[in-house]
């Protein structure tokens, strides 16, 4: 499983440009805010259209050469900076929103994320760390081919960060999903990334 990304996009006065060819494990996009790291993730997810370039996962073109697969068919597991849980659905409905695959995966995933006791809660009653774990669970349950993480730890305190960090390492090492993660924290970049790309 590999990412091939070669994109360019003008956003206001900023020109976002990245060329990247990454294999298994976690690839971290590292750099200060405002250089367009999140925009790259949005382009990979199909939420933002590059001005030019190509995006391919495992040899399959998602964008470029006349192809532009809509986000709902890219099978990206996207975890945003804010959890973005749907406020009018309980945790269980949030988790099941994009579900693919069998029931035992559900038990596995809520098990290792430790969110089984939250299923009947409303998102607004969750702490930041709980919400982010639910968001990771929701993304994983959609049976993604790869995971996009946009500063998933930035809104959390130290203790919560460690929880989420362990969950991400589990996804990387046990579930073996390729990860593309954005961060501006060198420590996170070092710990999660099998390779770090500076932007």
């Amino acid at each position: 499983m590999s990412f091939e990304i070669d994109v360019e996009k003008r956003l206001g006065d900023t020109r976002v440009s990245l060329t990247l060819d990454a294999g298994e494990g976690a690839t971290v996009l590292f750099g200060p805010s405002g250089v367009g790291k999140s925009s790259v993730l949005n382009m990979v997810a199909g939420l933002l259209r590059p001005d030019r370039g190509r995006i391919a996962i495992d040899g399959e073109t998602l964008f470029g050469d006349g192809v532009d697969i809509p986000p709902e068919r890219r099978r990206a597991g996207y975890v945003f900076q804010e959890a973005r849980l749907f406020p009018h659905m309980r945790v269980r409905a949030n988790l099941l929103y994009g579900v693919r695959g069998e029931a035992e995966r559900f038990e596995d995933i809520i098990g290792f994320l430790g969110i089984g006791h939250l299923l009947d809660r409303w998102p607004r009653t969750l702490s930041g760390g709980e919400a982010q774990r639910v968001a990771i669970g929701r993304a994983l349950l959609s049976q993604p081919r790869f995971l996009l993480l946009d500063e998933p730890l930035s809104s959390l305190d130290r203790a919560r960060r460690e929880e989420i960090m362990l969950a991400i390492e589990h996804v990387r090492d046990v579930l073996k999903l390729p990860i593309l993660m954005v961060t501006h924290d060198p420590e996170e970049a070092e710990r999660i990334g099998n390779r770090v790309v500076r932007m």
Binding site: A45, G46, L47, P70, P71, E72, R73, R74, R75, A76, G77, Y78, F80, E82, R84, F86, P87, H88, Y97, G98, R100, W122, R138, A139, S142, L148
Partner: protein
Amino acid sequence: MLDAAEWGIVALSLKVGGVAMLVTLPVAFALAWLLARVSFPGKVIVDAAIHLPLVVPPVVTGWLLLLAFGPNGPIGAWLQDWFGITVLFRWTGAAIAAGVMALPLMVRAMRISIEAVDRRLENAARTLGAGPWRVFWTLTLPLSIPGVLAGAVLGFARSIGEFGATITFVSNVPGETQTLPLAIYSALQQPGADAMVWRLSCVSVGLSLVALIASELLTRRAGRGLHVL
């Protein structure tokens, strides 16, 4: 208390207002969604055209409706030829006038509530495999429902109060097009009907007040979905 004739006027007003609101609702929602979520050439003009009934003298709107729905008008002739019906001097015509006048208010309220739905949530849903229709039914609509209802209630209240376009378009026919404001207007022309004017005016103010309060309460829920009601 109201006498039988006055109750009839109130009932007719509720019927006209209710039908006007129900028929206008889907149109208003579609227009609100279009204005809130789609960019297209000429959007400014569409936006302005929708708001015209709010600023054009109602008598002009009524006259334009008369041209369109009259026996020689494009819609009137079509209704007559195909269905053998006319809306002139009928309560259905009063509902059309009320609906047209209520449209801009309904579109405004609904548009604001659709715009208040966080697009980042919609994007998250797309990445989870939901196509545009599923996103609409599972997120945009449920999260904007309070604003949609607020707009509907506001439109209903506006419909009940409609006067200028109605009297121009379908005249003031007791039992058919004579809604509350038209009945009050008629009573004002008669000597000794002061008590009736008072009673009907009180009903008007009461209905409007209830609708405005309901609409305001619903608007405050916009963007958070009905589950918090």
